[in-house]
Symmetry: C2
Subunit: 130 residues, 2 copies
DNA sequence: ACCATGTACCTTGCATCGCATGGAACCAGG
DNA sequence: CCTGGTTCCATGCGATGCAAGGTACATGGT
């Protein structure tokens, strides 16, 4: 079903999300409580972290199991009630912990990816996609 | 070693490595063939990506199974022979693919971690009594 | 010769995670 | 009643990081 090339890109991106998704979801709740589909849409809009319900809901269950979030039901004017997820004290601490270690990690990967050898490499511009 | 806090930090960092380690190892082979312990030491020196043999060797087996690397044995003047891992054509392509998607991913995480609506956010120290 | 140490390679078993798939419940409009 | 949109959740599979354990080679001490 896959033409092949898109598989590789999807594969690389898929493996990347592991572990990071958890903290990005926590980061989304930092300002205010969010509900499942809202988180899903926010991740989708980011582009690189788009995922599915089958990923987000088990993740939210784990966060609740580990006491990183609490939930409250709230009625919706259009549709079934929504379960809003809010950060607990532990959740906020975990998020700050991640915020602390992330730059070092990011920098390490950047260091590995930048080769110190070929100054004239015909690299397409790092101007970046949207 | 840092006391106490390093546990949480290690936990967050451990989740982070998932999926990225594979491509960092490929990146290390970009310039010249490397052998297992050499890769292990390079990762350890990076700090954030330190891992163990139990992680690297199964990873290298997978890379070989997927034809991303080839290996050649080489004698060592001090110790057992070393198996050197070198990038194949597919391996180099996978590395470039990852190099393409990584900036977008990194940028997305950075965006989530920086709160977009509180310009005057008090960067209070951890343990704030709120 | 024997054994301890350092180097280097590899396997097994466990826990975790992303994700495709499928299903359930609620509301509005025809 | 029935179709469509929204929201929630669970199950099963494949892949991954990692601790623990095992094998083999070389050197030096006794």
């Amino acid at each position: 079903m896959e033409p092949g090339e898109s598989t590789k890109q999807a594969r690389a991106a898929a493996q990347l999300r592991k572990g990071v998704l958890e903290y990005c979801v926590l980061a989304l709740m930092r300002d205010r409580p969010r509900y499942g589909v809202e988180l899903l849409h926010a991740l989708e809009e980011s582009g690189a972290l788009a995922t599915s319900q089958g990923t987000v809901y088990p993740l939210l269950s784990r966060l609740r199991r580990d006491d990183l979030v609490t939930t409250t039901w709230q009625e919706s004017s259009s549709g079934p009630p929504r379960r809003y997820y809010a950060l607990t004290d532990s959740g906020r601490a975990a998020l700050e912990e991640f915020t602390r270690v992330w730059p070092g990690f990011r920098d390490a990967v950047d260091t590995f990816l930048t080769s110190p050898h070929l100054p004239g490499t015909p690299h397409h511009s790092p101007g970046d996609p949207a």
